[in-house]
Symmetry: C2
Subunit: 334 residues, 2 copies
């Protein structure tokens, strides 16, 4: 990036109205319409103290938790809350699971900007992943900001990984996560590489948050286009600073796009055309390919950031999780 | 699409300024900046008579031709203009080509909205494809609107295909094209299927124009974001109507997204995050996957429609064409 000359010309884009597209399912149309009706966060509404953050988190997590009973009906499963290496986890077992499926195991690192979706709100993606793969999923309730900034999340993911691989072939384990969970998945693998520890058999990175410095082009292009993560400049930058703390947002374990993906396991990456992290996903995919990693890119029409989790009744969500499940079954040992 | 209810809520997106991103090469940054400085077509500037179209085409083609000498220097090749089955073609032979490479052959269908880039202006993508694959490319100068609307282009592509496959294994031939050329590639294969004729060994679809009805979500989202194809509502809709003529824009041979891709050859699809045809590409990819076709999706950070052709000096262009070349070498017989 030797040529960020001030003579380069920015591009002006006029205000526009985005209709709900006719090119997606009725369920996704309803989700897109609902998101368009939802209030948007203004910069002034972002918390500025730890106490204000805690209140903000409590409100958001309560909202996230509201879908749990619906998920439980549509995607029957059991949840066993326990601790692994001192870290709280929830083991999600899909209905119909039998011991002959125990050869493969998934670990989920939830999203939420390293701030949101802790505790009981942490299992939505894990439940969907368990349902579509038929596999058990260990959902890691890693410590988060403001109380536990970086590197607490990486430390917790690493501790769980070490404990789980003590009596299980690492190549039989897939790790997946969306948004911050996708970034944390990459950070975990960078950390494992640096420690010389064995790596997972495969990864699934859902619209991974890999650039907390804010350089991705889609942060500008899809600002206010994305219905779920509408603006990096409001909640994104605030959560990035809160999480990174003293390490700073450019640390490769905070922003894994600055890490080296050489030797990484096969990965499937998922995003949507309205996703504010479209560029994060695409840049990660390209960096993996450039490093010789087997990678597959999945993009969905008109989807916002992580919408495959929230529009869980849509056929597009079933395709997204179906692709992830097939990728794990095709690449994990066991 | 049973639920396009008027109660669905559109999404308002404010005006924005897109900086030239720091996340791409210096060469692509220069291209993005140049495109931001270029004048944009207004609806009032679109031609409305056949004569006005001819003048518009002549001006645009002269511009397109201006890069030919630069391409000839950077990507040395020979051009042999000839006719196949009455259709004008140019056979592009990359420097260093030897007869042991003759087992595989590529056919290129150029872009330009079924209106532009005819004649000497038709070979840019073919030259790049020949260079990166090391293979001969037959560049088809198919007839275009306004003088020859649909189905002339499909008829010409079909005539060339039949003649070339008379003495060559179809499975050893790859067909590729960008924009209208990608749409025409799909239309050709739909036509071959309907005639029960053998299909190509593999396809490369560069940001294919598959929905001339204008329904793709990116026509709204990336309007004025894309620096090359800035607006469907100006030049897109006008060229679509001019090309489709009496068949109408919803005919599957005009808008192949309405066709059935079952049984299609393996395909690689390429687009960029700023591409106004991002949705066309993604929808085609998803429809192929749903039909059980082996398909691979390649997306490039901050690229506009077909920019890999025009930013031919960028490493991103080399990666895009390198992926296409590798895909053909991996999938074509011979």
């Amino acid at each position: 990036m030797d040529d960020a000359s001030p003579t380069l010309t920015s591009r002006a884009v006029p205000a526009k109205i985005l209709p709900v597209p006719t090119t997606v399912s009725a369920q996704l149309r309803r989700s897109i319409s609902n998101l368009a009706s939802a209030p948007r966060l203004a910069l002034e509404q972002m918390p500025t103290t730890a106490d204000a953050w805690r209140a903000f988190v409590a409100g958001a997590d309560a909202q996230a938790l509201a879908i749990a009973p619906i998920l439980a009906t549509l995607f029957p499963h059991t949840v066993m809350k326990t601790q692994i290496a001192g870290v709280t986890v929830r083991e999600i077992t899909p209905a119909g699971w039998t011991a002959d499926r125990d050869g493969k195991l998934l670990i989920n690192l939830h999203g939420g900007g390293y701030v949101l979706n802790g505790g009981e709100a942490s299992t939505s993606e894990a439940v969907l992943g368990a349902h579509y793969s038929g596999l058990k999923v260990i959902s890691v309730d890693y410590r988060m900001a403001p109380d536990h900034p970086f590197p607490a999340a990486v430390d917790d993911a690493l501790a769980v990984w070490k404990a789980v691989t003590a009596d299980r072939d690492p190549a039989s384990i897939g790790v997946f996560g969306t948004s911050a969970g996708g970034g944390l998945t990459l950070a975990l693998v960078l950390k494992l590489k640096s420690l010389g520890l064995p790596l997972p058999g495969a990864l699934a990175l859902g619209t991974p948050w890999v650039d907390l410095t804010g350089a991705s082009d889609s942060y500008a292009v899809n600002a206010e286009v994305d219905g779920i993560f509408s603006s990096f400049d409001t909640i994104g930058r605030a959560m990035a600073a809160l999480y990174a703390g003293e390490a700073g947002v450019a640390d490769p374990l905070v922003s894994p796009i600055f890490g080296d993906f050489t030797g990484f396991p096969p990965a499937i990456l998922t995003t949507g055309t309205r996703d504010i992290l479209l560029s994060d996903t695409v840049r990660t995919y390209r960096a993996m390919r450039a490093a010789g990693v087997e990678a597959r890119l999945e993009v969905h029409e008109a989807m916002s950031h992580a919408e495959y989790i929230y529009a869980f009744d849509s056929p597009e969500s079933a395709v997204a999780f179906g692709d992830v499940a097939a990728f794990f079954h095709g690449h994990l040992k066991g």
